[in-house]
């Protein structure tokens, strides 16, 4: 029996360390690695299901080519590479390198992901996207307020007097955080959850606040106003470390409790209670979720929430702070997110960064000089996950050639002309960071790729050779095939950090050099003023928004007020059963979550003569979805909730109903802001 250390590279807070066991070369068990203090208990169900996923009969093991009749047939690597390379050469000659779209999602983490961009640079450039579907507005709000994105170590949460899960359902999306939250409860600390849904996270909370979706900013400002009115602010902290407090104080006076109660549909006494708990039960940590920052006003919303912590001195202390993204392990990035994902001021290496990820479909269709002819898609499933599925499909279908690197027949893979089989996490070593805990981890190769699967770095190598590049030209950009070369590539990246080496990482995770256990303990902020900026000139300059975190209604909400045709807020949260659109085809997962369902409040259901278990149709002017209804007595009235990530063949993606629109800051996607109507399918 062989035991190996590795780590899960999914786009997930927990980014668990694993100990995996092999028997006769076959993966037989996955347990958590106890050295990662954030994930000492077991892995989640998705982590366990790798045992099936890696060996799934549905895995794509050979290059596939789409026939005229639409079916896929197996082709050799030689053929696949030659078709692609010939097309690349001719496109470059006829239209220029920018006629090729390179699109990658967040399917897997790792330093080797940089090989992709290196290839496109060597090719002579490409067109690619800026922004991100995930978290930019929250990142940018945090950066503008606090200077950078980091927070206290995960285990510090247990020192909190009060935890506020604001729009975060940790029980499903960051299950290991619940261990620390439970310790707070056991010590008689307070837990508040702010979410239109009653979630598993809220189940042991003291208070569940259910605002109307998109109004969290107003709620935050009302809470801040109450704290100021009751003189519960930390005056000394404000004087020393907060910039723009006077302006902020004047601004929040508008956000009177009664008025905000009307805006948010939260009872005034609850708003008072949250303000009082924050004032009395310190230290306070707010864990901000990602879903609520996918709204058209969400950057300012996030800034408003952080303001509460600033005026109460809940930053830079144990048990306190703003837990949104901890990028302290992103030591390999020269420029960190969100700035790294912004379109560069000056084009370099022939790479045109011109399409907003939030508007991928529209961006592809509207690209000119040159227009797009071909797409290369890896680590992502944009048909399912990007806003406006219809437009994305239309855009992809307008191209001459689509290459998709995938493990399974996803909605996007179905659109491909050539599918190249992708490796699983166990089939090539890589070094990964995280965004909740501060560990650097080795995602170790433990088995050989099955069939004719090749890691992306190797695919790029052969492609580079086929378009005429020499080994000398590839040096430092694309590693030669072979595990030894990959290890050398990684060692080279680790070199600047004496604490890190592949051998050390094989033993277990290592806390990233320079990590602060308590973020901003020194209370020095990387903002223009060096203080926490309640008033931020950069916000105005960069995004054209108010310097103060004022509340504005979301675009869809304004529309709702004027035309009540689609009166229901469609919430599209993540689930414990998947990472976005990954894992839903695995039998082990299907036994837990067999089909997409829409949760609705019984009052909304009975108004439409819908009963539990009925097939219902959700629709708006953009599209429709048919799913089964599930009654949820505690879901806020006027909301309907269905998890994102289902493939079209499994019942459909929520993005048939979403709209491609950027968030107010950060170039995020405001695609959680959707209105629909529902009806029973007869």
């Amino acid at each position: 029996m062989n035991e190996f250390t590795t780590a899960c590279p999914r786009n997930c807070y927990s980014t668990c360390s694993f100990k995996v066991t092999l028997k006769d070369g076959q993966l037989t068990s996955i347990e958590s690695h106890k050295d990662n203090l954030a994930t000492t208990e077991g892995p989640c169900l998705k982590g366990l299901s790798y045992i099936e996923r890696v060996y799934s009969p549905d895995r794509i093991l050979y290059p596939l080519k789409k026939e005229v009749n639409g079916n896929f047939s197996r082709v050799s690597w030689e053929e696949a590479v030659s078709v692609i390379s010939e097309k690349l050469i001719s496109l470059k000659n006829d239209h220029g390198a920018k006629s090729v779209l390179y699109y990658c999602g967040s399917g897997t983490k790792g330093l080797l992901n940089s090989v992709s961009t290196n290839f496109w640079k060597l090719y002579g450039g490409c067109t690619t996207t800026y922004g991100d579907l995930c978290w930019p507005s929250g990142l940018e709000a945090t950066r503008l307020m606090l200077g950078e994105n980091k927070h206290n170590s995960p285990w510090d949460l247990e020192n909190a007097g009060t935890i506020i899960f604001w729009g975060k359902n940790a029980a499903e999306t960051n299950i290991h955080q619940m261990v620390f939250a439970d310790r707070v409860k056991a010590n008689d600390g307070k837990v508040i959850v702010i979410d239109p849904r009653r979630t598993q996270t809220s189940e042991r909370a003291d208070l569940l606040i259910q605002p109307r979706p998109g109004t969290d900013g107003a709620l935050a400002l009302a809470i801040a106003n109450l704290i100021i009115e009751k003189k519960n602010t930390d005056e000394q902290f404000i004087r020393k470390y907060v910039h723009g407090y006077d302006e902020f104080r004047e601004m929040v006076k508008k956000y009177d409790t009664e008025l905000v109660s009307e805006i948010t549909d939260v009872p005034p006494e609850y708003i008072v209670r949250v303000a009082e708990i924050i004032s009395r039960k310190k230290p306070v940590t707010i864990c901000g979720g990602f879903g609520m920052q996918r709204y058209s006003n969400s950057g300012q919303t996030m800034r408003a929430i952080i303001s509460i912590l600033a005026i109460t001195g809940n930053i830079g202390k144990p048990g306190a702070g703003w837990q949104f993204a901890n990028l302290q392990s992103h030591i390999f990035d020269e420029v960190k997110d969100p700035v790294a994902s912004f379109p560069p001021e000056k084009e370099s290496d022939g790479i045109r960064v011109s399409i907003s990820t939030a508007e991928l479909g529209k961006g592809i269709l509207e690209s000119k000089d040159p227009g797009l002819k071909m797409a290369w898609i890896e680590r992502g499933n944009p048909v399912t996950q990007n806003p406006e599925t219809h437009t994305v499909l239309e855009a992809l279908r307008s191209l001459d050639l689509i290459i998709v690197v995938e493990q399974f027949m996803t909605d996007t893979a179905m659109e491909a002309d050539i599918i190249l089989p992708a490796k699983s996490m166990f089939e090539q070593s890589d070094v990964i960071n995280a965004y909740w805990h501060p560990y650097i981890q080795l995602k170790q190769k433990v088995i050989d790729p099955p069939g004719e699967v090749k890691p992306e770095s190797e695919i790029y190598y052969y492609l580079a050779k086929a378009i005429g590049l020499t080994d000398g030209e590839l040096e430092g950009s694309i590693p030669l095939p072979g595990d030894g070369n990959i290890d050398n590539f990684l060692e080279e990246k680790l070199k600047p950090f004496p604490e890190l080496s592949l051998n050390r990482l094989k033993a277990g995770p290592v806390i990233a050099p320079g990590t602060e256990d308590i973020a901003w303990k020194d209370l020095e902020f990387g903002t223009p003023s060096g203080k926490i900026e309640l008033y931020s000139k950069e916000t105005r300059k960069r995004w054209g928004l108010d310097e103060l975190p004022v509340y504005t209604e979301t675009i869809e909400n304004i529309r709702r007020n004027s035309s009540p045709e689609y009166p229901l807020y469609m919430m599209t949260p993540n689930t414990k059963d998947r990472i976005h659109s990954q894992f839903n085809n695995i039998e082990m997962i299907k036994q837990v979550s067999p089909e997409p369902v829409a949760q609705i409040n019984p009052d909304d259901a009975s108004k439409r003569s819908i009963e539990h278990g009925d097939m219902i149709r959700l629709f708006n002017e953009r599209g429709e979805l048919k799913v089964r209804s599930v009654l949820d007595y505690s879901l806020k009235q006027g909301c309907v909730s269905l998890t994102n990530g289902w493939w079209i063949a499994q019942g459909g993606t929520v993005n048939f109903l979403s709209f491609g629109r950027e968030t107010d800051m950060g170039h995020g996607a405001a695609f959680h802001e959707n209105l629909v109507e529902i009806e029973k399918v007869e």
Binding site: R198, E203, R204, Q210, R273, E587, P602, S634
Partner: protein, 466 residues
């Protein structure tokens, strides 16, 4: 040393990792259910908490599966307390799944034997923990050495006397749910729960147990026929008696997953009513052969045979008298012992016996039906009508009008009525399962008067510590 699961309800988020870990460790196909998760308040009704119970075999100190397994296929590992099933000894009769309130033994359709959680015994023997425990992402599931006087009464967990080796850490405050603004219509919710309760898959159904129904009914007729011969010299066709009895035995075999191991069914005569049933009935047949062929119905030997026959019928009734039975647990008019005595009277044409047991049957029948009527159970009025009509009214009518002349019609009518009652007996069999219990307890929890909202004074205390 008996090990025990410890389950902290506060910590479990219902994530299902334990289920997957179990399937991986034991190489089971997805959906195997050695460990299952049941959710209390799946519909998130505002006034009651939502929580989950992750349950597998509780490796009881007094395991019912082991005690009542007719084939002695179970054993308990003294070193860990693990209750283990030897699949090579199991005859696939499924009786362990009836007597286990936790739904631990599962029928494997491909092997046609039972299977269940092994406690990951090999891991325990190596001082490791079970796979489900190791894989729990929140630490809700753990393992300890079993202690007496632990909490095992939580909503959704079936009560029993078999001493399950599981300890629950109950909710910190059992009525604690977050305060929030939402109200639900209790009536519509209760209706949904009741509907759900009715639609839950039943452990024992008429269609799954038709072979047992036929066997037990045939056994009942055979014993009473022979009894009537001894009691009153009632003459009957011997070929019919043999044919029927042997057919009954063969039919009962079809109930077994593993028919080749049928003889194992008598091994646990000491404790299992199934073993007694399958010992006494063939013994009755053997004795009746001797009695008929060698002793020409000699009285003493005849009565011994009748006694053994009724012992078989008594054992059959006892098989169904499990601790896990819910619903109607009192005497059922379709039980074969009382039916046997009634038919003994009918075959013997003994008015006294007919009157006594006929009266008892009608009494038990109406009692039960009134109970169902009161508790909202299935009433099946037309079935009742047929049962009473064929069983009592028609035969009494024929007897009243034509006297004993049309005895065969009377008999046929009575047997039809009794057969309907026996079918109803199977239809009305109910056993507790964790899933069922959780819905039942939700109804109870809903009816408890409680103030959901904390008074502002409570909040003052919480916020200001005063």
């Amino acid at each position: 040393m008996q090990k025990a699961f410890v389950f902290d309800i506060n910590k479990c988020t219902g994530c299902s990792a334990c289920m997957l870990a179990c399937e991986i460790e034991n190489d089971l196909p997805a959906g195997s259910n050695w460990r299952g998760i049941s959710t209390f308040n799946y519909f998130r009704f505002p006034e009651i908490p939502v929580f989950h119970l992750s349950l597998a075999c509780n490796h009881c100190l007094e395991p019912a599966c082991m005690k009542y397994c007719p084939a002695e296929a179970y054993l308990k590992d003294e070193k860990t307390g693990a209750v283990l099933l030897d699949s090579k000894k199991c005859i696939g009769c499924r009786y362990c799944s009836w007597v286990c309130p936790f739904d631990a033994p599962q029928y494997n359709k491909s092997n046609r034997v039972m299977e269940k959680c092994t406690f990951c015994n090999p891991r325990l023997l190596e001082d490791n923990s079970s796979a489900c425990v190791v894989s729990c992402p929140t630490g809700a599931l753990s393992q300890e050495t079993f202690k007496k006087d632990i909490t095992v009464t939580v909503p959704g967990f079936p009560e029993s006397t078999i001493e399950p080796a599981i300890e629950f850490i109950p909710l910190r405050n059992s009525s604690s749910i977050p305060e929030f603004k939402a109200k639900g219509d209790k009536k519509s919710f209760e209706n949904i729960i009741r509907k759900k309760l009715r639609s839950l898959p039943k452990k024992v159904t008429f269609s799954s147990e038709w072979s047992l129904l036929l066997f037990s009914f045939i056994a009942c007729i055979a014993v009473s026929l022979f009894g009537a011969r001894i009691y009153s010299g009632f003459e009957f066709d011997m070929r019919l008696f043999w044919g029927m009895s042997i057919a009954g035995l063969l039919i009962s075999l079809t109930h077994l997953g593993c028919k080749g191991r049928a003889l194992r069914a008598i091994l646990n005569f000491k404790r299992s009513w199934i073993s007694r049933e399958v010992t006494f009935f063939p013994l009755f047949l053997l004795f009746s052969i001797v009695s008929i062929t060698l002793l020409d119905f000699s009285r003493l030997f005849g009565w011994i045979t009748v006694f053994i026959g009724f012992a078989a019928l008594f054992s059959i009734d006892k098989v169904y008298e499990t601790e896990t039975r819910t619903g109607w647990k009192k005497t059922h008019s379709g039980m074969v012992f009382i039916t046997g005595l009634f038919l003994l009277g009918v075959f013997s044409k003994s008015n006294v016996i007919i009157a006594w047991f006929g009266f008892l049957k009608v009494y038990f029948y109406t009692m039960r039906k009134f109970h169902f009527h009161k508790t909202g159970g299935e009433k099946r009025i037309s079935v009742s009508l047929f049962r009473l009509l064929f069983g009592f009214v028609i035969p009494a009518g024929i007897w009243g009008i034509y006297g004993i002349d049309h005895y065969n019609y009377i008999l046929a009518s009575i047997l039809t009525g009794e057969f309907i009652d026996r079918i109803e007996f199977y239809l009305e069999l109910e056993f507790i399962t964790p899933v069922k219990k959780i819905f039942e307890d939700m109804l109870i929890e809903l009816r408890k008067p409680k103030s959901v909202k904390l008074r502002s004074a409570d909040w003052d205390r919480i916020i200001y510590n005063r």
